[in-house]
Symmetry: C2
Subunit: 260 residues, 2 copies
């Protein structure tokens, strides 16, 4: 099943996508909801970020290739994470399908994409075993963990390196019936494929992240876990379009503009 969230007059509404039509619903995808009696053309609605997460989790370093690239960039020894310790991103930075990634005025050239699988939690949970973890997942969407590398290296926190406004494109929608280990992520910069990787090559699986996080933290419906990226990343420039495609979900597409 494919769920979106879209602009419906002056408020946001969840909808079910079937083919090229969207049926609005009252309620939430992970709760009780009722379908409207009429649908709309998907092309005619403005998609919003598919969920505003109560808490926004991110694996951060979770692929060997990305750890090696980042260590080289920072001039440090590669340090592979010893456990599935989750990190955080911030809701202010979320933008939807088609919205522009804005490169801040004082950013260096090193503003880069990171294409990622995103899991959306569907059921409240705590102390979850790895074997049961996927039962608490509602579905999957796509994220672009945009990063300014000089700030990531030099600032005390990730507040602007990872969380400047518009730095977290997420969407276009949530797909519920998928095996997260059986997915490929393809990243295209202005039409050119720059990298492709398998989600199953992650250092820690989604199940491991859910199990370890839930040893200390209650996960709730709508929480998202961004699973990290693999491989090298390139600079994005004013006028570029970046696409993250995960066959089975779709493609998250955002133009890039430089703030003036």
């Amino acid at each position: 099943m494919r769920w979106c969230r879209f602009e419906d007059g002056d408020h946001a509404t969840y909808g079910i996508i079937e083919g090229d039509r969207v049926t609005p619903v009252q309620g939430e995808p992970w709760g009780a909801y009722t379908r409207a009696s009429t649908s709309r053309a998907l092309d005619d609605v403005r998609l919003l970020v598919p969920v505003i997460p109560p808490t926004f989790y991110a694996a951060g370093l979770n692929y060997r290739g990305h750890v090696l690239e980042q260590a080289q960039l920072h001039g440090t020894e590669p340090a592979f994470p010893p456990r599935a310790d989750v990190g955080y991103r911030a809701n202010n930075a979320l933008i939807a399908q088609g919205e522009a990634i804005v490169i801040p005025r004082d950013a260096t050239e090193q503003v880069q994409y990171e294409g990622e699988l995103v899991a959306v939690i569907g059921r409240r949970c705590r102390w979850v075993a790895e074997a049961d973890a996927l039962r608490y997942v509602f579905g999957y969407t796509i994220g672009n963990d945009v990063s300014e590398r000089s700030w990531q290296r030099d600032d005390r926190t990730l507040f602007r390196a990872k969380n400047s406004d518009t730095f977290k494109p997420m969407g276009p929608w949530i797909e519920t019936d998928l095996d997260p280990a059986d997915l490929e992520v393809a990243i295209r910069l202005s039409g050119r494929e720059v990298y492709r990787y398998h989600v199953r090559d992650a250092i820690f699986s989604l199940q491991q992240f859910i199990a370890r996080t839930s040893d200390y933290i209650t996960l709730v419906p709508g929480d998202v876990i961004w699973m990290g990226t693999d491989g090298p990343t390139e600079n994005m420039h004013d006028g570029d379009v970046v696409e993250i495609e995960i066959p089975g979900i779709g493609a998250l597409r955002n133009p890039v503009v430089k703030e003036r």
Copy 2:
């Protein structure tokens, strides 16, 4: 003016506190609202966390005494932050006045309080000058940035060191008419005052945090900024009660229990 949020049947309602009475309101404190025609005794309502922030910001290291203490604990050189770079905490960890701080089963003895002033944003803003920053603040409450020091030192992220469930008491309410530089914070552990400091001794002021954050990030109503703590901190044990008092606001009081 003093604002709270409380349990009202099966939902959460904002209320205005006058003396020992609470008047429920429809709407939000920073928007259009209407007062109910009747009030209730403050003692008869169950206070909730005074706001669920869209984004939960925290200054982290922001007092010289705390930086020195933490460096000693971690066996590192003290590094004073060069700029007002804000960090993050997570909504899952929020608890209200009177709710129990639960020490996780596998935590060390080093689970410690950090008593802090909390600013609540009242107006959407971006690119704010320091001189104008307080115009965007709705009011002030109190936070206890509970921290497990061994995890803070050794884990890759702060997910369990700072954000285990119940590790972020906030409340009891929001006071709107205060000068944030003219406040003292007193911390008591089971009735004994363990530390007292002046907010004005912070390395960076609230105005500096708002100005720098808003160079990259849109702050929105309900966002909170926790301002950091000063001085040494002590271990909390099962059966303790920790109180953070800021005269002019009130006292945030939480019992401590060890998870079994």
